[in-house]
């Protein structure tokens, strides 16, 4: 059994970090994981994307053409990758920046105003955490308590911003549950 999640957005939106936190949580849960970034020149300003592969046996190919799920943080990402998602998957759409939809009926759309919610919570910088927790709560790929701990651990060197990110995490879960 293998699940692949593609995170995509602008460079600077915290795409790689969200993906890392998910991989970290899956690893803590005992799964095999691989975190595969794109590292082309597109990272500077263009589309940054990253795939997390979670499996119950050693990960073979780290190159994934058709992921199980997609977290799209900006419009070009949705347009580029929505068609690749396997039927039955979750596509998270950051509706703060994306006015369009996936045009697919064989997947579950999760509409999350990540930027707007982040501003409401305290800082637009935690939009990636809101998207991460909302996605994880909906797609049920990892244990949410473990993931929450991983987010906390990530900011352990900057304890001042832990409450903000925890608030963002809970907000994301809330949005997913109401969606």
């Amino acid at each position: 059994m293998q699940t692949e999640i593609k995170f995509a957005g602008f460079g600077g939106q915290g795409i790689l970090l969200s993906a890392k936190l998910l991989a970290y949580a899956a690893m803590k849960q005992g799964f095999f994981v691989a975190w595969v970034p794109s590292y082309g020149p597109e990272m500077r300003g263009g589309t940054a994307y990253c795939t997390v592969v979670i499996g119950d046996k050693r990960i073979g190919s780290p190159i994934i053409k058709n992921p199980s799920h997609l977290v799209a943080m900006n419009r070009p990402s949705l347009e580029k990758f929505a068609a690749d998602v396997k039927p039955g998957g979750v596509i998270l759409i950051n509706s703060s920046l994306i006015p369009t939809r996936s045009n697919r009926t064989d997947i579950t759309e999760l509409i999350v105003p990540a930027n707007d919610s982040a501003i409401k919570v305290g800082s637009v910088k935690c939009a990636n955490i809101i998207a991460l927790s909302a996605f994880a709560a909906k797609a049920k790929v990892v244990d949410m308590d473990i993931l929450r701990h991983c987010v906390m651990d990530e900011f352990s060197a900057k304890p001042k911003i832990i409450p903000l990110n925890m608030k963002a995490f809970d907000e994301g879960v809330d949005i997913a549950n109401k969606n």
């Binding site: 890392k20 991989a23 970290y24 690893m27 095999f32 994981v33 691989a34 975190w35 595969v36 970034p37 590292y39 082309g40 020149p41 990960i59 073979g60 190919s61 780290p62 190159i63 053409k65």
Partner: protein, 355 residues
């Protein structure tokens, strides 16, 4: 120790520290710059030295200098940088100094691109620099193996008193996977008093050690080459590493592939198995010494009708595969380069075309 999630590049840096390497010189180049970034921060914490050279040419000789003094030393670079270091590699091999070189390959030739490639097989295995020398070449297929091979590389560099190379690619450098650092792979530094220019006072000796690669006397030069040749012969006996995947089956096709490419092939093999098609994989973990007998044995299994070398290159290792198969089977090749790693679906299509 619990597993940690690390990028291949950072994990290679940490592995070097765990192996007792206190000297690391490098020049930044994508996709391996994180090794330098990591060690610039970590080495001073353990009393080591990080130095950025003014170019890879300089770095190559900084490695030679430290290795000649008997210090554990490493550098990392990517394809064009390794080309610049190749002269020093030849000198280091000739002068019999232990050192670890890591090549996180990117696309070439020339400046090429920054995405993963396996275009430096010839350079790593067949030379790069001039003269009759070889590197012991490891080819990891993931972050954990990169760690283990890096730690082991220091031990083997000293065992054979010569340069050892880790031949990874951009994917292995950039990808994060869970890793642990096995303590048992750390070796005690060997006694270098008989040859290293470590200072006569320090080693309480009245014998002057000389590290050199110039032998003007033909008999002496011939002898030095025979000494090197004896080491390479010993490597062929003692250091060959490989992995078989689905090789217990009655496979019709044998794939030979290494590094990141071999993982894609494994997924393709699993996909074909579900359709009832058996395909085997022979994955060299050392490229020099090459698993010659293992390739021959796997290729000449009765059920096996065809052999194919699959690489992220235009066809390099395939020449060694052909050499090992000795005309007993047809050897095909499939490769892509430029940075787009072939997908498992593509490999399935290629294999089905051979059936």
């Amino acid at each position: 120790m619990a597993k940690v999630l690390m990028k291949g590049n950072e994990a290679i840096g940490e592995a070097a520290i765990r192996a007792g390497c206190k000297n690391y010189f490098a020049y930044p180049i994508t996709p391996q710059s994180e090794v330098a970034e990591y060690l610039a921060k970590r080495l001073p914490e353990v009393g080591g030295v990080f130095l950025q050279g003014e170019s890879e040419v300089a770095v190559g000789y900084m490695i030679f200098g430290a290795a000649g003094c008997g210090e554990r030393v490493m550098t990392t670079s990517s394809s064009p940088g390794i080309s610049l270091m190749s002269e020093a590699l030849s000198y280091i091999a000739a002068a019999q100094c232990p050192a670890v070189f890591v090549n996180i390959m990117r696309g070439g030739p020339g400046l090429g691109g920054i995405l993963p490639s396996q275009g430096d097989y010839f350079q790593a295995v067949k030379g790069g620099g001039h003269g009759d020398y070889h590197l012991l070449v490891f080819a990891p297929d993931g972050v954990q193996e990169a760690v283990e091979m890096t730690m082991n590389a220091f031990t083997l560099a000293e065992k054979y008193r010569g340069p050892v190379m880790i031949l990874g690619d951009g994917m292995i450098g950039q990808m994060m996977e869970p890793v642990e650092f096995p303590d048992h792979l750390k070796s005690e530094p060997s006694n270098k008093d008989s040859w290293a220019t470590s200072g006569m006072d320090k080693r309480k000796s009245d014998k002057r050690n000389l590290v050199r690669s110039l032998f003007l006397d033909p008999t002496e030069l011939n002898q030095n080459n025979l000494t090197l040749k004896a080491k390479y012969d010993r490597m062929k006996k003692e250091e060959i590493l490989y992995e078989g995947y689905n090789t217990d089956s009655e496979y019709k096709v044998l794939i030979v592939s290494y590094g990141t490419m071999s993982r894609v092939c494994k997924t393709a093999i699993d996909m074909m198995k579900e359709e009832g098609i058996e395909v085997g994989l022979l994955r060299p973990k050392t490229l020099f010494p090459f698993p010659e007998e293992a390739v021959f044995t796997a290729a000449t299994k009765e059920s096996c009708k065809a052999v194919i070398s699959i690489e992220m290159s235009m066809g390099q290792m395939v020449e060694d595969v052909e050499r090992c198969v000795k005309g007993q089977r047809k050897v095909d090749f499939y490769g892509e380069c430029g940075g787009d790693i072939p997908t498992p679906e593509k490999i399935v299509e290629i294999i089905k075309g051979l059936l």
